[in-house]
């Protein structure tokens, strides 16, 4: 058997393994999958709650450091997760400034790291679409004499479909992230192990079939969540429009 065939064999074994895990509803798989969802969806909700209003503020307000903030956000989009992980680790470590909270190696620490990773991404993408909408709405909203907060809320609501895309980009980045949560979560079995860190672990053990199987499930999960959110937003629109 040639090397290529051996690699194909691994891929096939991965697909079979993914299928077996799903059909048997493997208990560990269910647990780490739910934890992946729990951590990432929480990070997504918190991250969006920070990033979207920030993006709206940057679109509506003209303040002194606005351009600077936008440039920094764009730069932070490419922030290596490992660096985020290290910084959060240093902050949350018992010897660090927030050590007393005892958050290191908990899902909360992983959520914090993911929020830091996705806020610049969501805010940047959201800001682009909000800026376009704002140039369209600017004169109208000025003439209606609405408050700054009302402007922001109007933009956020009317651009909600574009913002959904921004948030989903954040979700995609967070659910597939491994570098940061490995450091601050510790990949502890039954406590902080999620799909990505489990994949890293199984790859380390040379168990490519299981690692690939988990990878396939991760991809499936990401697709399912994307479809579910799109479906939810569509039913909402049909109800109102």
């Amino acid at each position: 058997m040639t090397d290529e065939w051996a690699q194909m064999g691994d891929l096939w074994a991965g697909i079979t393994e993914a299928f077996r895990l799903l059909v048997t509803l493997d208990r560990d798989l269910v647990e780490i999958t739910l934890r992946s969802l729990q951590v990432t969806l929480t990070a997504l909700v918190i991250g969006s709650a920070i990033a979207l209003p920030l993006a709206a503020l940057l679109a509506v307000r003209r303040f002194r450091f606005r351009r600077g903030v936008i440039a920094v956000l764009n730069a932070l989009m490419g922030l290596p997760p490992v660096v985020v992980g290290l910084v959060v680790y240093v902050l949350l470590s018992r010897s660090g400034p927030f050590g007393v909270l005892g958050l290191l190696f908990t899902p909360t620490a992983m959520i914090i790291a993911q929020v830091i990773i996705i806020v610049p991404l969501i805010a940047s993408i959201a800001h682009q679409s909000l800026r376009d909408l704002w140039s369209e709405y600017h004169d109208l909203l000025i003439s209606m004499n609405v408050t700054q907060g009302q402007k922001m809320r109007t933009l956020l609501w009317d651009a909600r479909r574009a913002l959904l895309t921004a948030s989903l980009a954040g979700f995609g980045r967070a659910i597939g992230e491994v570098g940061a949560i490995m450091i601050v979560g510790g990949n502890i079995d039954h406590a902080t192990r999620v799909l990505t860190t489990a994949i890293a672990l199984e790859t380390g053990k040379g168990d490519f079939a299981l690692a690939l199987g988990l990878g396939i499930i991760l991809i499936g999960l990401a697709i399912t969540v994307n479809l579910a959110i799109h479906w939810l937003s569509r039913t909402e629109q049909e109800g109102r429009w």
């Binding site: 647990e31 739910l34 934890r35 969802l37 729990q38 969806l41 929480t42 470590s93 018992r94 010897s95 660090g96 050590g99 005892g102 290191l104 190696f105 899902p107 510790g186 990949n187 502890i188 079995d189 039954h190 406590a191 672990l201 790859t203 380390g204 053990k205 040379g206 168990d207 490519f208 079939a209 939810l232 039913t235 909402e236």
Partner: protein, 267 residues
Amino acid sequence: MRRLVFSVVLTLWGGIAAAQDMMRMAVTTSFQNSGLAGVLLPAIEADLGLEVQLVVVGTGQALKLGEAGDVDAILVHSRRAEETFVAGGFGRHRREIMYNDFVLIGPSADGAAVAAVQTAADALRKIEATQETFVSRGDDSGTHKKELALWRAAALEPESFGDWYKAVGAGMGAALNTASGLDAYILSDRASWLNFGNKGTLALLFSGDPVLFNQYAYLPVSQERHSHVKAVLASKLEGWLTSPRAAALINGYAINGERLFTFNATP
């Protein structure tokens, strides 16, 4: 619809484990990869009602976590670093638990002919002489430190090696994957090797030299620097790890009929 989403979210959050006695222990990748943890942790939970959360890292990072007080105990295998750790006041003491051994892995073809030699030093000299590709962990882990010590014992200086010596800066499993891909020689602990699933053409070529023995020691983190450290639980765990019950489980653990660890704690 909103209510449905809400209840799903609540269910997701409900997945958090229930509270009980819990402590964190930093262990090395090689210990985790051996699979022994899967035998010991449930027994500890059953006997002591204690949940031990393992943070799996290299020896260097494990000691660092102990120094920062981020774990309650560490279980590693790098004697000199451990003694420095205790001397620095970070650990209460060092307690030897068990040992396994390092093995020299390489391509079945064995271009350096290390299978025929008598000592580890001779084996390494042959690899250096033939310039066969060698993968080093290069991550400051216990295994990496052991490898460097072995080269020096053979009167060789890894710093001066050429391209054939590849320091990959990765954990045991990742390094083994690299060696498998390159058909290279590599020093591994026996447990990681036996559990490794991607052997390819690699084979165990040399083992048994007493200098390859790999002593694991348990170090409870000192409460003096970090008052939050769970010293009582760490002591409880130490008592268990040195008990006859642990001895039976450790000595009885085998992969493919091969025994991996030898219990050598003094009660």
